[in-house]
Subunit: 255 residues, 2 copies
């Protein structure tokens, strides 16, 4: 088996709309039996790995929180590699504890970290960050989604305000979620593997396959979730293609 | 004289940092004597033509308010050409009276007009506009400046929030200031001339010459204001080049 570790997408790959995809639990159990390490990767920013682990447990997947990487934990892991550098945080309170232990600086930080703070995106908060960027801080974004569907209608997401700050500052934000190489490099570091030793598995070529490609890793596209209804990979980015996660053990033994 | 009307920039062309540029008053007086009509064009959005006219009078230039076109009055003039269409306004209170007489619609407008509302750029105001854009309204921006220098430091300008709304909606805003063709077409309409009959005069190739080029008009670059210190036009966009506005009469008699 020419593979030491697996980087697995969650929504559309292991779960879909609140239910397990058939074969997901069996495939994860098989990985465990084979002694293959893995991480679950998601672009979620506002929920912690502990919360996501608890949600998966309800569905029947036992995954420890330390095996789950979000766009936020990837950011935190990356900031921990930046020794001596400081950050200003404009992130939701729900994820602020994940940043404990990092150097925080409200006057002249090296980085400004921005996440979706919803109603708290006001002129003063944005202008404070703009001035820090003008002073030399680098813009780090947990995500850059343009909008999301709230109960009462489409609503501006973090990405709109990232775009505002990019336009005003002339910077391009470093996004810490998929498909950024930063995100996948942090997953490699967590699992202790080289890019050529892992498989990235997911349903979204734009995030999963593009991310794998960016770090030079192989990828497996599953035709579930966003790829449901397709007969084959049409992206040209996937190394392998499976009808679903259920086929993973069989693919791995053939590698 | 192969010219029926003139479209003149103000700051850097007629005035500079609160003072008249030598020859500006004499050149305007000469135009008047010759019966040549003109308009003064500026990207100012928050001050009205009446206010600008009063400011110029203090400096010694007598220009009626009706001869001054701002990015805001160009927007208003354009909206008046859009019969039966309605607008939602997110503009400073100082210019709101200029929009009197236009059809205003807070539910499903054809256009959303955005200007610099400073501190009033909050999540709710921006999200209300985003939903109108999602519903099919078209984004019209009085200006798209990324930032300005306030007394206490660089500060986000209207353009940053226009960029946020463009990113979220997928639209490209119609900017009503220079160098947009909309702006120059409205000036032509005001002065009752065809593009080939006018000269556009200014110190900024990016706004004045580019705008003239966009409508197919000739332009004169003056080497004052933003072009001070140059010996010749280096943009390749100007039809003619003058050391300053003082040379305009001599150029016009030669055309």
């Amino acid at each position: 088996m020419n593979c030491k570790g697996l980087l697995l997408d969650i929504e559309g790959t292991l779960t879909h709309q609140g239910a397990l995809i058939a074969g997901a639990a069996e495939s994860l159990a098989w990985l465990h039996e084979q002694g293959l390490d893995y991480r679950l990767l998601t672009n979620i920013t506002a929920r912690s790995p502990a919360t996501i682990s608890a949600e998966l447990a309800v569905l029947g997947l036992a995954v420890p929180a330390q095996h789950i990487q979000t766009a936020t934990t990837a950011c935190v892991a990356w900031l921990h590699t930046q020794q001596g550098r400081s950050s200003y945080l404009l992130v939701p309170d729900s994820v602020r504890p994940l940043f404990d232990g990092l150097l925080i600086n409200e006057r002249n930080p090296d980085y400004v970290v921005i996440g979706d703070i919803g109603q708290a995106f006001c002129y003063d908060n944005l202008n404070r960050v703009f001035r820090l960027l003008s002073g030399g801080a680098r813009l780090i974004a947990l995500q850059k989604n343009p909008f999301w569907f709230a109960a009462d209608g489409p609503s501006l997401d973090c990405g709109a305000f990232v775009a505002a700050l990019e336009y005003a500052s002339g910077q391009t934000a470093q996004v810490t979620g998929k498909p950024s190489s930063l995100f996948f490099e942090m997953a490699l570091q967590s699992i202790g593997c080289q890019a050529r030793e892992v498989l990235v598995i997911g349903d979204d070529p734009g995030t999963d396959m593009a991310g794998a490609s960016g770090i030079g890793a192989r990828s497996v596209r599953v035709l579930t979730g966003k790829s449901a209804g397709l007969q084959r990979d049409d992206s040209g980015l996937a190394s392998y293609c499976l009808a679903s996660i259920a086929g993973l053990p069989q693919l791995l033994v053939q590698l």
